[in-house]
């Protein structure tokens, strides 16, 4: 289903990724652990097609993501940065993203996560008035807005309180039954998943 083949990426003169290989054939929860600056975010952005690798390719359902016109509809990503509009309310943000994905409203799965994340009371709150943890939770819902087949989560547990961390972990495990979930973390996470480490630009199991 998803294949990352010999991906190399450099910034300036520094090689961040040195021949990364990853093959996921079925729905699964995959965790990538690595220090800050190890290239975790770069790898996720390459898988999502947001940045081009210097060498190598990413294949989705046996076709290169650059040649697959529908790949954007198949991928959802939680970015490390807040990608919500501060001046819009939570509901307006989610409605906007649903509309630009060509949907009338957010997917059922996103609506369910919205409830489980205890966001209902905040739907009319402007994003700028939310705490960092709350913004992360709304961003997670945004990543699932169109019920994508592949979900990329960049440090999904950072900035969350213990209760929310438990909820997010549980959600990730549940979603992995029907999707490919790839998440990153700077530290080891106590969760049952396929674990990889990104060390010196190489992905090791």
């Amino acid at each position: 289903m998803l294949e990352v083949h010999d991906v190399w990426k450099k910034y300036g003169k520094t090689w961040v990724l040195k021949g990364v290989n990853l093959k996921i054939n079925k729905n699964a929860l995959v965790g990538i652990v690595g220090d800050n600056g190890s290239g975790k975010t770069t790898l996720l952005k390459i898988i999502s097609g947001l940045i081009k690798p210097n060498k190598g390719r990413v294949k989705l359902f046996n076709s290169d993501i650059r040649e697959n016109l529908n790949y954007k509809s198949m991928i959802g990503m939680l970015f490390h940065e807040n990608t919500l509009y501060d001046e819009l309310t939570v509901e307006e943000n989610l409605n906007f993203y649903a509309k630009i994905y060509g949907l009338e409203k957010m997917s059922d799965i996103a609506a369910e996560i919205f409830k489980r994340m205890r966001l209902e009371n905040y739907k009319d709150t402007k994003v700028k008035d939310l705490s960092h943890g709350m913004k992360r939770r709304v961003n997670l819902v945004r990543a699932l807005i169109n019920n994508p087949k592949i979900v990329l989560l960049d440090e999904p547990l950072s900035g969350l309180d213990e209760k929310s961390r438990k909820t997010v972990k549980k959600i990730m495990i549940e979603l992995s039954n029907e999707k490919i979930i790839i998440f990153t973390s700077p530290t080891e996470v106590n969760i049952d998943c396929i674990k990889y480490k990104l060390i010196n630009g190489v992905l090791v199991k």
């Binding site: 097609g49 940045i51 954007k72 509009y85 001046e87 819009l88 307006e92 630009i100």
Partner: protein, 200 residues
């Protein structure tokens, strides 16, 4: 309909942010007042060129509200990942810029007419609208081109000046045809080039 939601989102965000639009409006009002007063001492012929210079500055101001701001806020990544064709994204920013530039330009014209009784300005409305459209394309593209740079806002301003230079003789001659062709060529060229900018 995606383009409608993109424009609506931009307008909502900017009108709710408020202070930037208010400072732009204040700038327009003060400059209009200064130009109208100077026209009494100098000549009425300074009014039209001054108005066009003012509109260039308005477009520079608005360029900071488009792609450079999306980049500053990080929201450009989710837009890039969404299944929206780059040409739609560019067109939405162009229309958003056009609305703000034209609105502020019209306010400037209104004040110039009120303060200096320069009713002849109303005869060049069509040139002003075309020039605003040209500036909006240039402003949106400059903002997109500069968004990956560390000093994106200042770079975008410089790019706008570079793109405006060739059209200035046509504006001074009020050559509507050249202005229209210039706008069309720039719009089509930039919409094609924008695909590559979004690919980076």
């Amino acid at each position: 309909m995606k383009i409608y939601w993109l424009i609506l989102k931009d307008l909502k965000v900017e009108f709710r942010r408020g202070f930037e639009l208010l400072s732009l409006l204040l700038f327009v009002l003060l400059v209009s007042l200064l130009i109208s007063q100077s026209s009494y001492f100098l000549s009425e012929s300074v009014l039209v060129p001054s108005l066009f210079i003012l509109v260039i500055f308005i477009s520079i101001f608005v360029s900071t509200m488009t792609f450079t701001k999306e980049m500053d806020k990080g929201t450009i990544f989710s837009i890039k990942l969404a299944p929206v064709h780059p040409s739609l994204v560019f067109t939405s920013k162009f229309i958003f810029t056009f609305i703000l530039v034209t609105l502020n330009g019209l306010i400037a014209i209104l004040f110039l007419v009120l303060f200096s009784s320069a009713y002849n300005l109303l005869n060049i409305l069509h040139v002003f609208i075309l020039f605003s459209a040209y500036l909006s394309v240039v402003s949106s593209f400059s903002s997109a081109l500069a968004m990956y740079s560390e000093s994106r806002s200042s770079l975008a301003s410089m790019l706008i000046f570079i793109f405006v230079m060739p059209i200035i003789p046509s504006i001074l001659k009020m050559d509507v045809l050249i202005l229209f062709i210039g706008f069309l060529v720039m719009f089509l060229t930039f919409i094609l080039l924008f695909d590559y900018i979004m690919e980076v």
